[in-house]
């Protein structure tokens, strides 16, 4: 097989016309929801409501409805928080970092993953508020001037969290919205409904596709990408400080920031990949979100998964190398103690399963990658469980050791968080273009001025066609 590496493959297949792209991407927002949509929405809303009921119990009776205890002061609440913040990492990475790196394949998936980021961070943001003992006083976590003259404790990582997560949410939201403006204008121009028109008109901020607009838009987008890029790294770094700054063996570790960021990207890509597989199938976006794109995501998962696996190994090594018996005990206890089951679920899902992506065939086979992606999500949830719970359940004084068992309320709130996330996602896919129309148009073959025009552009992709 001879491939001309001097040539870029088009990331969009089938050479759609600009109008076709418009039609294809705008269609979900212009058609009435079908039966399938309602069925799925019913499921997610039910999950959400179940979570709301469980939350009601929690608010009415107290955190005691959860499995938390002393010593395991943090249980599902913080596990879910870290998990969802992690999920929220792929979006900005794809839209900002890959944008700066000029990775054109991102254009097909950036909008969707950014949306997911926002919903995941929204979901995550609920947990710090609901996990506190007196949620009605959660405002104390914010530094606001008050008559008591009491300020927050700026050396507490939980305060850093508040800033990190809220900044991330704000910047992601703005970035996402700015990216949406040209598409909203496009939808405004297409729609016939009066109300829809009004809404789109308001939110497209008078966009007229003028050259001047485009010029400003590109600059803003670039600046925002620059803003968002460090945030991708900082948010999970700061979340990892919640643990790394403490004195608890199993938490107190300098490897945490890179390890958490890699893990977050890992889980975020897995979640994006999982959901996109369904979106591209249902909305017939196979040509926009191509197997090539999915394969690239799988490669990133392979990379970050290996980094996570390396971190696991390194944690053990450092525990041994430190010569600290308490540290050593914590890690041996993780792998062989009462929570060994959770640890081995984590290792299987996070370290072993992504290694299958070394095989090209697996990287490009949708059902298998879907399963591996799901494994990764399960594994990454368990990673947080292992870190949070096993370290706490057996710490310094053996007299205070205690096993943590989640209650049905814990599971209900976890279910509810998925319901919350997917409900937003479902509303998103029927109201806004899940793929950036403008950006996709920009990477269609022939959309950009090129030096050499291929005589027969199909020659580049015989391989892909046979794979589909």
């Amino acid at each position: 097989m001879s491939v001309d590496y001097s040539k870029e493959f088009s990331v969009i297949e089938g050479r759609p016309t600009l109008a076709e792209v418009n039609d294809l991407i705008a269609r979900p927002t212009e058609t009435r929801p079908d039966r399938l949509y309602y069925i799925i929405l019913t499921i997610t809303v039910s999950m959400l409501l179940f979570g709301v009921v469980c939350l009601g119990f929690t608010f009415y009776y107290g955190i005691g409805e959860w499995g938390n205890n002393i010593p395991v002061g943090w249980g599902f609440g913080i596990v879910n928080f870290v998990f969802w913040v992690g999920i929220g990492h792929a979006g900005t990475l794809i839209s900002a970092i890959l944008f700066l790196l000029r990775q054109k394949w991102r254009n097909g998936i950036a909008r969707f993953s950014e949306g997911m980021t926002i919903f995941a961070v929204m979901t995550a943001g609920l947990f710090p508020l609901i996990h506190v003992g007196r949620p009605w006083l959660a405002a104390y976590l914010f530094p606001y001037p008050n008559e008591h003259g009491v300020w927050v404790n700026f050396i507490s990582p939980l305060v850093w969290d508040v800033f990190a997560v809220s900044t991330y949410l704000t910047v992601s939201l703005i970035f996402w919205y700015v990216g949406l403006i040209p598409d909203l204008a496009n939808l405004r121009d297409r729609t016939t409904g009066k109300i829809k028109k009004l809404i789109y008109s308001v939110f497209s901020l008078g966009w007229r596709h003028s050259n001047r607009h485009w010029h400003h838009y590109e600059m803003v987008y670039l600046v925002l990408a620059g803003f968002a890029t460090p945030l991708v790294l900082s948010v999970h770094t700061i979340v990892s400080f919640d643990f790394a700054v403490s004195v608890l063996p199993g938490w107190h570790s300098t490897i945490f920031p890179p390890y958490f960021v890699a893990g977050a990207v890992f889980s975020g890509f897995a979640m994006v990949q999982n959901v996109l597989i369904f979106v591209r199938k249902i909305f017939h976006y196979e040509n926009i979100i191509t197997i090539d794109t999915l394969e690239k995501m799988n490669k990133i998962m392979l990379l970050t998964g290996s980094m996570v696996g390396y971190s696991y190994a390194m944690e053990f090594f450092i525990a041994w190398y430190s010569g600290n018996p308490i540290e050593q005990f914590v890690f041996i206890n993780r792998a062989f103690g009462p929570y060994a089951w959770a640890y081995w679920i984590m290792v299987t899902c996070n370290v072993i399963s992504p290694q299958l992506f070394w095989f090209r065939k697996i990287r490009r086979t949708v059902p298998i990658m879907l399963i591996i992606g799901m494994f990764v999500n399960v594994g990454m949830w368990f990673e947080r469980f292992v870190i949070v719970v096993t370290s706490l359940s057996r710490d310094f004084l053996p007299s205070s050791w205690h096993y943590f068992t989640p209650t049905w309320v814990d599971l209900g709130i976890l279910t509810g968080s998925f319901g919350f996330f997917f409900t937003w996602l479902l509303l998103f896919i029927k109201t806004l273009p899940v793929v950036s129309i403008a950006e996709v148009k920009g990477v269609i073959e022939g959309a950009q001025v090129e030096h050499h025009i291929a005589e027969d552009s199909t020659a580049y992709r015989p391989r892909q066609q046979e794979d589909i």
């Binding site: 003992g133 007196r134 927050v152 404790n153 050396i155 507490s156 004195v247 310094f396």
Partner: protein, 1030 residues
């Protein structure tokens, strides 16, 4: 008008609006300028069209409606009348606690107490420092007994229980009816039975005597489930008369205890702990006593022991006889035991560690006269006779205290008395049974048949605090005063009279039980008044104690002095009537009467007292039910303790169930594999499994009392004819500490490896006092190390003196309003105790070496909890306290996660509401709360405060008295309660204070020092007085 005119005239004449104006000649323009409003502006203004509501009226309506809205939005509830003192009582200053001396009657030790009252309500009971026996300390039960006063389940009025439905009746009706019935029974010559606890009060005895004088057919049956009867009977066999003496534990160099748990349940434990730990004072001494414990399961005394031997209770006789034979042989004593067992054979047969036995023998011989052998009260009489002979042989009788002894006011009922009574009850010749605050239906071995006999008694009365098994079968239940509402005088020690005075007027329509009998004995219900028993005691004292005391004071002064002190100690010779210990000549013949213990099967059932709820009488006390077992840390349950080998033999694991059967008596118990239990021993604690014990206590644990038999072959507590089998099902026992750590090889000895417990031997310490490696290196810290000027609070705990008695825990619970959470929540890891006593094992599961370690907030100088709190709700005070600001706390629990000692406690629920459907939210429990300590809401973190309320009180006093606050001004609740004074507290910046010396002590160490938390609790390392292993 004038005003505008002035303005106009003052205007700069250069400004003009029209030529006409400029000229100033147009009258119209002039007029316009003079008017307030321009022309036309006010055309629409017609006063008649306006609302007729005046401005005043409008404002009045507005303010009224705002006030109305505001007041309807508040949640003001009418809380009843609040009446201030219009004339302040002489003794009460609001906000200042009053202390009254009184006496606890929780058990027959009758310790002197100091009751703390605030605004008239008792909130805490502590020991009376002036009391010569308990010296300012009382046990966990005494500490917790105060909640019984406010127990919502208390019986509030007399109740008639006949014909099913209970109905409330009035006291006069009860009195009239009873007096008539008593007369009838008495004149018919039929027995009136009074079933009482052991009588500790001379006045109470006189009440009973008066009663018998009035109704000659009355007979008193007094009993106590756990008693000294066997020990005293054996003493009389050995010495013809007297009673078993008290022991000078503090003088003993070697103590061999045979199943004698004298630090937790046998005898006066508060006194025993104090005296025993005098010989194990790591702070002051390098000389330690040596304790050998021979027991069937690990007890607090066994934990304190230097050497332990595991032996089933039925083998103790053979052991002590073999020991005697061996010692007699070595010292050439002519004493011969009737059973010739050689010690070597016995050691081999029972698989005892020969080296330990050898140490024991040589110690007893080498230190004879300074050693004592002590046998547990539940062992058979023959063991005690043999022990008496052994002590006699070794000259250990020098350690018997001669000047004082336990005083017995009234002999306890014997088996024959019970059988007689129950026989008569059954044939209907006992018309009246009065249960004088007792519960024989639960307490007596079931084969007496008391329960069915009671049903045949036409007039059965139960006088008691709250419903129990006996009252449920009685015709009348009469509510009596709680201790804190009662008068009394107690004399349980030669010459020591402890006075009991009420500190609160009875909360309900209750009467003092003695007053009820006095009224009935007077034959006239009108003779009752509140003070009837008070007058009786005073009268009694005037004639008795005062007359004997030869006091120079007049009686009233004498009486009030005694009342204020809470105790009167009479000169020893002034009370000749007291049957003090008299050591007559030893009757060598008593030895020959010893008969071998009947042989049995491979299992030996040993029934013993529990450490929290007494004989079951405190079952409805949540504080005590939730007190962790001092060894197993089980709460809210009893269980069958077996050894790991026995568990294997039976094929059971933790929480499996076994059926213990003694003939027709069968009961299933959950298994608890207790390290250190003798193989084949099944040890079960009594007092649990009550079925009518109020909302808290009913159905807690399993009834083992029903296994007891009046015709027991050995003693009612030891059965070797028992059969045991595994049954199906499990039963979850809840502990406050995980159980598996001793079996987990990775966690083994973690407490030693991590520097949580530091230990050594006395010999090491004598050779090199600084043997303990000091790890107090300067460490780099990111945080600024706080500097403390002035007072800096710190605590020291001597692990050598801690015997794990739990008094500190209860004292802390009551002082700091710590809630009861219930079994389920303890299982979920949410016990709220600020103060806990950790227990660790090293060694093997068969032969564990156990440690106890009080653990509470360490008040670290660089506290990890403080850094991580996002809202700064936990902060450091300038005097070294790690503080909690409850109303700032949002409950992130981060502080607890980051606390290496895990001493923080979180209000996962409003536990008062959550426990037993809000049982402790009912009236009048809130009266118990210490008003100086916030009652924490749900969602808030809490922890030990070093009793900051007491510190603040001391500071206020110091300011008031214009002096500097000194460390010794503050005594924390745990320190106050500790019977061995293992806890010291004070100002670490004062170089002369004990705490400073503690911190500089050779044995002093801090837990987890590597973390650089700089804790302020200094532990003194545990020393064991053992021989160096060769």
């Amino acid at each position: 008008m004038n005003n505008s005119h002035n303005e106009t005239s003052g205007k700069d004449p250069n400004y003009w609006r029209s030529l006409r104006e400029l000229s100033g000649q147009d009258p119209e323009a002039f007029e316009e300028n003079a008017n307030e409003f321009m022309k036309g502006v006010t055309d629409d203004f017609d006063i008649s069209k306006l609302s007729q509501v005046s401005r005043r009226k409008f404002l009045a309506l507005l303010s009224a409606s705002v006030a109305f809205a505001a007041s309807s939005c508040t949640n003001y509830h009418d809380k009843g009348e609040i009446i201030p003192y219009n004339k302040k009582p002489e003794e009460i200053t609001p906000g200042v606690a009053n202390l009254y001396a009184s006496t606890c009657t929780g058990c027959r030790n009758a310790c002197g107490t100091l009751v703390k009252t605030r605004e008239g309500r008792p909130i805490k009971v502590d020991g009376n420092p002036d009391h010569p026996v308990n010296k300012g300390k009382i046990c966990a039960i005494g500490q917790a007994s105060v909640i019984n006063l406010y127990d919502p389940n208390r019986l509030k009025t007399p109740v008639r229980l006949s014909d099913g439905a209970p109905s409330e009746i009035e006291w006069p009706i009860v009195d009239d009816g009873m007096i008539a019935e008593l007369h009838k029974a008495s004149s018919a010559g039929r027995q009136i039975a009074i079933i009482s606890r052991i009588v500790t009060s001379p006045s109470e005895k006189m009440v009973l005597d008066n009663f018998i004088a009035k109704y000659p057919t009355a007979k008193v049956y007094s009993y106590e489930v756990f008693n000294n009867g066997v020990r005293n009977a054996a003493w009389r066999r050995s010495y013809s008369s007297g009673s078993f003496p008290l022991i000078q534990w503090d003088e003993a160099r070697v103590i061999v205890s045979l199943e004698g748990d004298f630090l937790a349940g046998e005898g006066h434990t508060i006194e025993n702990i104090r005296l025993f730990t005098k010989g194990r004072d790591g702070f002051m001494n390098t000389e330690f006593n040596r304790l050998y414990m021979v027991e069937s399961t690990l007890t607090p005394t066994g934990i304190a022991a230097d050497y332990r031997l595991r032996l089933k209770a039925d083998r103790q006789l053979d052991f002590v006889l073999a020991l005697m034979n061996e010692i007699a042989g070595r010292i050439g004593s002519p004493v011969k035991t009737p059973v010739t067992i050689s010690l070597n054979d016995f050691v081999r047969k029972e698989n005892l560690p020969a080296k330990t036995v050898e140490h024991m023998v040589t110690d007893l011989i080498d230190l004879s006269g300074k050693a004592v052998v002590f046998a547990g009260g539940k062992l058979p009489e023959d063991v005690h006779v043999a022990v008496n002979a052994l002590n006699e042989m070794l000259g250990n009788t020098k350690l018997y205290r001669t000047g004082e002894a336990e005083v017995v006011q009234m002999p306890a009922a014997q088996k024959a008395d019970w059988e007689n009574l129950i026989g008569q009850m059954n044939n209907g010749s006992v018309p009246i049974v009065i249960h004088y605050n007792t519960n024989p239906v639960f307490d007596l071995p079931p084969d007496y048949g008391y329960e069915s006999a009671l049903k045949k008694v036409p007039f059965s009365i139960a006088m008691l605090l709250e419903e129990n098994e006996t009252s449920a079968l009685c015709k009348y239940a009469l509510p009596i005063n709680h201790d804190l509402e009662s008068w009394g005088d107690h004399n349980v020690r030669t010459g020591v009279y402890s006075l009991q005075q009420p500190v609160i007027y009875p909360l309900y329509s209750t009467r003092q039980k003695e007053a009820v009998l006095l009224t009935w004995a007077s034959g006239d219900r009108k003779s009752y008044k509140d003070t009837v028993y008070h007058d009786f005691i005073m009268n009694n004292w005037e004639k008795g104690v005062y007359a004997n005391a030869n006091s120079p004071l007049d009686f009233r002064t004498f009486w009030f002095t005694a009342l204020e002190n809470g105790v009167f100690v009479s000169p020893k010779n002034a009370s000749p009537e007291q049957n003090a210990h008299t050591a007559g000549a030893f009757q060598a013949a008593s030895l020959s009467e010893i008969k071998p213990v009947p042989s049995g099967g491979s299992f030996t059932l040993y029934l013993k007292e529990n450490y929290s709820i007494g004989d079951g009488r405190y079952a409805n006390n949540g504080f005590l039910q939730e007190l962790p077992h001092p060894v197993s840390k089980v709460v809210w349950d009893n269980y069958a303790a077996i050894s790991p080998a026995t568990a294997k033999e039976l094929g059971v694991d933790y929480y499996d169930k076994i059926e213990v059967s003694l003939g027709s008596r069968k009961q299933e118990f959950p298994v608890f594999i207790q390290p250190g239990t003798a193989d084949g021993a099944i040890v079960i604690e009594l007092g649990y499994g009550r079925w009518k014990a109020g909302e808290v206590g009913s159905g807690v644990g399993i009834n083992a009392n029903m296994l007891m038999s009046k015709d027991a072959r050995i003693t009612p507590f030891i059965y070797n004819e028992v059969s045991v089998r595994k049954t199906s099902g499990t039963y979850k026992l809840v502990t406050t500490q995980e159980q598996h750590t001793i079996e987990d090889s990775r966690a083994k000895d973690a407490h030693l490896k991590r520097g949580i417990i530091k230990e050594g031997t006395v010999e090491e310490y004598q050779k090199n006092p600084a043997f303990l490696e000091k790890e107090e290196r300067e460490k780099i810290s990111m945080n600024k190390n706080p500097e403390y000027v002035g007072v800096k609070w710190a605590m020291g705990i001597d692990l050598n003196k801690c015997v794990g008695c739990n008094a500190c825990i209860t004292s802390c619970d009551v002082e700091n309003n710590v809630p009861v959470v219930g079994k389920e929540q303890v299982n979920n890891g949410r016990i709220m105790h600020w103060f806990r006593v950790d227990r660790y094992y090293s060694g093997t599961p068969d032969e564990p070496v156990a440690f106890t370690q009080p653990m509470l907030c360490q008040h670290c100088d660089t506290a990890p909890c403080e850094n991580v709190c996002p809202v700064a709700a936990t902060t450091h005070s300038p005097d070294g306290l790690n503080q909690m600001v409850y109303n700032r706390c949002v409950g992130t629990r981060y502080c607890s996660n980051n606390c290496p000692y895990k001493v923080r406690r979180f209000n996962f629920f409003n536990f008062r509401d959550h426990f037993a459907d809000g049982y402790y939210l009912q009236e009048p429990v809130e009266m118990l709360y210490n008003p100086e300590v916030t009652v924490r809401s749900r969602g808030v973190m809490e922890k030990c405060t070093f009793c900051i309320q007491r510190i603040m009180q001391a500071r206020e006093n110091a300011i008031e008295e214009n002096r500097n606050l000194s460390g010794s001004d503050v005594v924390t609740a745990c320190q106050q309660a500790c019977p061995s004074s293992a806890i010291v507290f004070g100002d670490a910046n004062d170089p002369d204070s004990i705490i400073s010396k503690f911190r500089a002590h050779n044995l002093g160490y801090h837990v987890l020092v590597d973390l650089n938390t700089r804790p302020n609790i200094t532990y003194l390392a545990k020393l064991r007085n053992i021989y160096p292993e060769v």
